[in-house]
């Protein structure tokens, strides 16, 4: 059997990025949450916030460590497996990635030591400042990475000389047409992911009947944020979808499972897309609905997959189903949040055991939605790596063989299996233990202010 280095490299990239994105999906939101907790503790002096911050900082430390090491792998993928892309588009993409490294990663990694280990060594306001820097670092990271990613979806501000891309206008490159939608939708998704984990862990403690004060506070904060963000995310997703319809109509056709170009296009609820036969099997659809939400007009014409040559279509089944998973999880989230708001108004949120149990099981919801959404957008842009301009198969490193990539993929799988199971195991253990007791937190607080600023290390 012939091993295809392109397919294997795609699988490898999908594998390493899927595992990596789970961590920023959690840590971007968590870093901001820690900033809020530290800030509230700083201004209000309520030690409940301190105990929550100590607890979630532990969770952050483990996830961030895993994020760093799985993140180092990413830029090297562009060289080891996709040197064609580096050579062709390096002039445009690499400065964006380097800015990410420069601004964001240093901000995170430089101040992370202070955030995690420095509570006793620096005054409280410096510690809060370190938390703010780590939090903003994660957001800057998202900014630059998603800018580079968006440019590959909707290239702008470039010229092509001798088959290679060069930047003409950096503002157009950075703020390319899909970037504002992508970053809004992605970062909101990250915040929602974190909030559901916070809510789920708090709900679990409340079910068991431990750390009641802290868990009630955290659950209120989490659900309060979700009441705002989940509806907002649905609106942002709609806007992002319309932007995709404008720039990548074939992706939207795959998401919708539409083969024919038509007015009154149906919203396909269930189907098994058959790419070879260019049709759907077992289709269940609501007539006219897709035209309504895609064109905001029931008679609006939506392009179908057949309007594009077969060689320019993405794998339809994966995109179609990943999209349904994402939307399904979104609807589930909205239901849980609405239920929570209703219980809250009636003052029964912490008493309803059924609701606490449901919240508990929502812990992975955000991660599932992020991975599914990522799959929709990245598989949906195939067969292009730079949309409409550079095909994925032309971006491969010419020197690598299928066997090379098979070996490396197997090694990544083996290592990630060990690392990620251990990481999840330790996260569960920290989560179960919960926030520190009054006494433990008091110890941390007592030694928190050294006699002189920055002097404790010499004692």
């Amino acid at each position: 059997m012939e091993l295809d280095p392109v397919l294997l490299s795609r699988l490898q990239f999908a594998f390493v990025i899927a595992f990596h994105i789970l961590l920023p999906a959690f840590t971007v939101g968590l870093a901001s949450y820690i900033v809020v907790l530290e800030g509230l503790y700083f201004w209000r002096g309520d030690s409940t916030y301190l105990r929550l911050s100590l607890f979630w900082t532990k969770m952050f430390a483990v996830s961030f460590g895993m994020g760093v090491v799985s993140g180092i792998v990413m830029p090297f993928q562009l060289g080891t497996n996709w040197s064609g892309l580096s050579d062709t588009a390096g002039n445009v993409l690499a400065p964006l990635l380097t800015y990410e490294g420069l601004i964001a990663f240093f901000l995170e990694a430089g101040f992370l030591g202070i955030l995690l280990f420095g509570r006793k060594l620096v005054p409280q306001w410096v510690h809060l400042f370190a938390a703010v820097m780590v939090g903003s670092g994660t957001l800057f990271s998202s900014f630059w990475i998603l800018s580079a990613n968006s440019w590959m979806h909707t290239p702008a501000g470039y010229e092509i000389i001798d088959g290679r891309f060069f930047a003409k206008d950096w503002v157009d490159v950075i703020f390319n047409p899909s970037f504002p939608y992508r970053i809004a939708h992605t970062v909101t998704g990250f915040y929602i992911t974190t909030a559901f984990v916070v809510v789920a862990v708090s709900a679990w403690h409340l079910r068991v009947g431990q750390h009641v004060a802290e868990s009630r506070r955290a659950m209120s904060m989490g659900l309060g944020l979700l009441v705002l963000l989940v509806p907002l995310q649905i609106a942002l997703g709609d806007a992002h979808g319309l932007n995709t319809l404008e720039h990548q109509p074939v992706k939207v056709a795959a998401m919708e499972g539409l083969w024919e170009t038509q007015a009154r296009a149906p919203a396909v609820l269930f189907a098994i897309p058959d790419s070879a036969g260019e049709t759907n099997r077992f289709e269940v659809a609501i007539p006219g609905l897709a035209s309504v939400y895609l064109t905001h007009d029931v008679n609006g014409v939506v392009k179908g997959l057949k309007a594009f040559p077969p060689g320019d279509r993405p794998p339809v089944g994966i995109v179609f189903w990943a999209f349904r998973v994402m939307v399904g999880v979104g609807v589930l989230m909205l239901t849980v949040v609405a239920w929570g708001a209703w219980l809250r108004i009636r003052g029964r949120m912490f008493e309803s055991r059924a609701y606490l149990a449901v919240c508990n099981f929502m812990a992975p919801a955000g991660f599932v939605a992020v991975i599914a959404g990522w799959t929709v957008t990245e598989v949906g842009r195939q067969p292009w790596v730079v949309y409409g301009l550079l095909r994925t198969r032309d971006a491969i490193s010419p020197s690598i063989t299928g066997l090379d990539v098979l070996l490396s993929l197997l090694m990544y799988m083996a290592v990630y299996a060990v690392i990620f199971s251990a990481g999840v195991y330790y996260l569960f253990r920290i989560a179960r233990a919960g926030p520190p007791t009054e006494v433990e937190a008091h110890d941390a607080k007592l030694s928190e202010r050294p006699a002189r600023p920055l002097s404790a290390a010499d004692v």
């Binding site: 830029p75 562009l78 995690l116 620096v122 920055l454």
Partner: protein, 334 residues
């Protein structure tokens, strides 16, 4: 008007890679020396001495990788696929040791496992960084804009030898770091380890100095022709002076000088490497100017870099300042 930014970017990249080698060098070195520690308390101290800074250190590797892609994309597109397996194994090594920092603190029965993973990961990552160095000096097969060799071209005596050499090098950095950061028995043992590593490093410097001229006539021409010989004579002389200072300071109980001198030794070797390969960025076919990205890309990134890099240096320094002094057992997070 047109300013040639290639020398500026060469300098920035050279400094970035050197920062990585120095900073991650000593914390990888601590990992290599890990199994030589007498007991669990010593291992905890060793790990705590680098725990607050290791991820900042590894950030320089990301910067090195992306800055190479940004400033010299052609070099990135040729060198990185040529080093497919050494880079893969280096990354997997870094993953194993990186997670060990956090997992070790969380583990109860699994602690020994993460101790081993910290050591093995550090060892593997260092060895393959050495292989990368050796393969780089040996040069890459290039055709057009691609690497034209095979994925196992690095399995040759010279790269494997430099892999072993770098184990001693990072070991030296790690041991002298521990001399500076610890006290008592652990410090005394680190002092002995530093001496052993120094002897190893000097043996490798001598071996590489004899070996490389045979590998590549361009290196011979650079170092052993008149008048280059006269201009470059200070390099071996200063290197020897630093090595002697290091040895004597270790013997006399110096605490800070050994670490400083070890870094100096690395700086001289790095300078020697630079002198050997200049002006190539892909030895021995593609020069810095051939591989450079467009002046527009280099200028765009330079603006930010010149603002950010000094700030990065400042707060890297500040982080080290906060965690200065001897490391103690209770420095865990709470």
């Amino acid at each position: 008007m047109h300013i040639d930014l290639v020398p500026v970017w060469t300098l920035i990249l050279a400094v970035g890679v050197f920062m990585y080698v120095l900073l991650d060098g000593f914390d990888l070195g601590v990992g290599i020396l890990f199994p030589l520690a007498r007991d669990d308390a010593s291992r905890t101290l060793m790990m705590n001495s680098v725990a607050p800074i290791w991820d900042g250190n590894e950030t320089w590797l990301i910067l090195g990788g992306t800055a190479l892609m940004a400033a010299f994309p052609l070099a990135f597109a040729i060198i990185i696929p040529a080093l497919y397996f050494p880079i893969l194994l280096m990354l997997l090594g870094l993953i194993f040791r990186g997670v060990a920092f956090e997992f070790r603190l969380k583990a109860h029965s699994g602690r020994r496992w993460w101790d081993r993973s910290f050591f093995t990961g550090s060892l593997v990552a260092t060895f393959f960084q050495g292989v990368i160095l050796g393969d780089y000096v040996q040069g890459f097969a290039v055709s057009g804009r691609h690497f034209a060799g095979g994925s196992f071209d690095w399995v040759k005596p010279f790269p494997l030898a430099t892999g072993v050499g770098l184990l001693f090098g990072y070991g030296l950095l790690g041991a002298t770091w521990l001399v500076m950061k610890t006290e008592g028995d652990l410090q005394a043992r680190s002092r002995t380890q530093a001496k052993v590593c120094l002897l190893g490093v000097l043996a490798f410097i001598a071996m590489v100095s004899v070996w490389t001229p045979f590998l590549q006539p361009k290196i011979t021409a650079r170092w052993f022709t008149w008048p280059n010989m006269a201009y470059l004579a200070p390099v071996p002389i200063v290197t020897a002076a630093i090595a002697i200072t290091l040895w004597r300071s270790l013997a006399r109980g110096g605490e800070f000088i050994p670490f400083l001198a070890s870094m100096g030794l690395f700086a001289m070797c790095y300078l020697g490497l630079g002198i050997s390969v200049f002006p190539y960025v892909v030895p021995w076919t593609i020069t810095l100017w051939d591989a450079a990205s467009s002046p527009g890309s280099q200028a765009f990134l330079l603006v930010g870099t010149l603002v950010i890099l000094p700030i990065v240096f400042m707060y890297t320094g500040w982080s080290y300042y906060v965690f200065r002094g001897k490391v103690r057992a209770e420095l865990g997070y709470h």
